[in-house]
């Protein structure tokens, strides 16, 4: 009787299993996740994967076309830029910078957004009104214009790009957290927690916050791709990362004069931005569909 099958107790799927089964049904989302994971691996292991350094200049090797094109050199698979730097290596190191910007902006605005949103929801009254007016103000200035304002005060650099874009996306999180926290307030478990003597900080972060997380996670995922786009736009305008940093937007700005003569120098960095943003957005769409029980396939 050693081989008798163990009795199977029918257990409801855990929240993660339910999420994964919904998520994995979405082919676009899975594709996005795979591309995104590839980009993350490239970014983390750039030193080992990239054939050359991002800033090493090869004399006499400037503006080489990709290896498969006429005049290409097998040593430089995607060709070289105007200063003889390997495009492939620059693109791989660029992935690191773009992801770093995207994740930093997301983390900064999520942390500050959660705090301000909960504070506004809990304190209400004047604090709430003042905070919300400030968020209205931030939202009323067009995103790029606001980023330009911040950068023109702080000066152009990678760090200031992160600060500027975080400010731009802060209101989304504050409003979202405040809204979902307010929706939770009337519910019985909050009253129960209050009656049980739970302190305000614990009530905010431990009792209420976990129930507001689903929309926040989706917003945060899509926030990463928005931040990458916004930072690339700043880089393109010369207000973001400064040369020789291999930031994709800044690479495009350098490449503008070669539109006519060397189209691949213009095409590749933009393609890199598009592919990473698309993969994050597909992943984010999948997250939203999988986290929202109303949309879940039964």
């Amino acid at each position: 009787m050693a081989n008798a099958p163990a009795p199977v107790t029918a257990q409801p799927a855990g929240p993660f299993a339910a999420f994964w089964s919904a998520f994995s049904h979405n082919r676009g989302a899975v594709g996005g996740l795979i591309i995104l994971l590839t980009i993350i691996v490239l970014a983390i292991f750039a030193e080992w994967i990239a054939p050359y350094s991002a800033i090493e200049q090869f004399r006499g090797m400037t503006k080489l076309p990709p290896a498969w094109a006429e005049g290409g050199d097998a040593r430089f698979v995607l060709g070289t830029d105007a200063l003889g730097r390997d495009m492939l290596s620059r693109l791989i190191y660029g992935a690191r910078i773009s992801l770093f910007i995207g994740l930093s902006v997301m983390s900064v605005s999520v942390v500050i957004g959660i705090t301000l949103g909960l504070v506004a929801a809990f304190l209400g009254g004047v604090v709430d009104s003042v905070l919300m007016r400030i968020m209205d103000l931030i939202m009323s200035i067009p995103s790029l214009v606001l980023a330009i304002l911040v950068v023109s005060i702080l000066g152009p650099s990678l760090t200031n790009t992160i600060v500027a874009v975080s400010v731009v996306y802060l209101p989304n999180y504050v409003r979202l957290v405040r809204g979902s926290a307010l929706a939770e307030f009337g519910k019985d478990y909050i009253i129960a927690a209050k009656v049980a003597g739970v302190g305000p900080i614990r009530l905010m972060f431990v009792t209420v916050l976990p129930n507001c997380l689903a929309p926040l996670i989706v917003q945060a995922a899509l926030g990463v791709s928005n931040a990458i786009l916004e930072a690339a736009a700043l880089g393109f305008l010369g207000l973001g990362a400064q040369p020789p940093t291999p930031e994709w937007g800044a690479m495009l700005a350098d490449a503008r004069e070669f539109i006519r003569s060397n189209p691949w120098i213009v095409t590749l960095p933009g393609l890199a931005i598009l592919v990473s943003v698309v993969s994050i957005n597909l992943f984010g769409d999948g997250l939203r569909d999988a986290l929202d029980p109303k949309l879940r396939r039964s």
Partner: protein
């Protein structure tokens, strides 16, 4: 209704005050002394310095400076551009029609293509058209439009020689005094042969570039809103009455599906102006977006300050109007 309008107007006032405060503070946080920026870096005597400081009001206490600033703004004085010595408001108003024309064209392009595409995708749900359109919408939504612009210039202008690379009209062939500032109207009024066509030629690519993101958003929104409406009882009733499919979709379903789409179009205004900054830079379009970027390069802070203030005020006012419009259409918002 009047109560709703008043409350909404009152809520806008603190936003405006805060906006003025932010631009006021911003200009003071910029590194470098404004007097030195104006007079050059070297060689200014202490008396001249004191004179300039007094003239600019910099010897006053900060709260007084702020009140003076607000007072000036309320009188339409947005400062004087350092590079052109023109009033910032005048410069803004001469350049703004170009931005407005481009934005209108962009949103028109997005609406005209996006709504039918979204409706068709919803009606043919699951078809190859639906899949292709939604795939394209994700790409459009994720598009770095500055690259998209360069790509189109590379293909359409440089490769196929179909459109010009920059500007609003062929300045060598056509010249006329601007009457409205809108090149499409001015070129028609000018009675010069080919001027209108030349303007259209110049407008096509920037319009596509600026319209791409709204197009993707509108197509997606129309599709999902249409899908929701198509499963409603009144659509079933309309079908049961024996109405033609075209009537059911275009009259009964689309009308109701459009409400959230209109909201989305309203929300695009801010994004459109941000997109205009990039589009104008790529196509050397002489609008306020390019002017703003050029002002940064020239360290023309008064222009930057006034420009940001004016653009943001416009967005606030447009959002307010959109809000009031919804209140007029939908009583639930009014009393919410």
């Amino acid at each position: 209704m009047i109560k709703f309008i008043l409350r909404r107007l009152l809520l806008t006032i603190p936003t405006f005050v805060a906006l003025m405060f932010v631009t006021f503070i911003a200009i003071r946080l910029v590194p470098g002394d404004p007097v030195e920026v104006r007079t050059g870096e070297h060689g200014i005597s202490p008396e001249r310095l004191a004179y300039f400081r007094h003239e600019l009001g910099l010897d006053q206490p900060v709260w007084k400076q702020f009140l003076d600033y607000v007072w000036q703004l309320l009188h339409g004085d947005f400062g004087v551009s350092l590079s052109s010595n023109e009033k910032v408001l005048t410069e803004f108003l001469t350049l703004f029609p170009a931005t407005l024309e481009l934005s209108f064209a962009g949103i028109l392009f997005a609406v005209i293509l996006g709504i039918p595409a979204g409706v068709f995708a919803a009606v043919k749900r699951g078809s190859w058209f639906d899949h292709t359109l939604m795939g394209a919408a994700v790409a459009g939504f994720s598009m770095p439009i500055f690259w998209w612009g360069l790509l189109l210039i590379m293909l359409v202008s440089e490769g196929w020689h179909l459109t010009p690379v920059a500007g609003r009209i062929d300045m060598i062939k056509y010249y006329f005094e601007p009457t409205t500032g809108f090149m499409l109207i001015d070129s028609l009024l000018s009675d010069q042969k080919g001027a209108f066509l030349s303007t259209l030629h110049h407008l096509v690519l920037p319009m596509i570039v600026l319209g791409t993101v709204p197009l993707a958003v509108i197509a997606r929104m129309t599709r999902s809103s249409m899908l929701e409406v198509l499963s409603e009882d009144y659509v079933r009733t309309a079908r049961a009455k024996g109405l033609s499919e075209f009537r059911v979709i275009s009259l009964h379903a689309l009308r109701n599906a459009l409400i959230p789409v209109v909201t989305v179009v309203g929300l695009q205004v801010g994004g459109l102006l941000a997109g205009a900054v990039l589009t104008e830079t790529i196509f050397s379009w002489p609008g306020v977006g390019k002017w703003l970027i050029d002002s940064i390069g020239r360290r023309d802070y008064p222009a930057l300050q006034g420009g940001i203030l004016l653009i943001s005020s416009l967005v606030i006012i447009i959002n307010l109007l959109v809000d009031l419009l919804y209140g007029a259409i939908n009583p639930r918002i009014r009393h919410g």
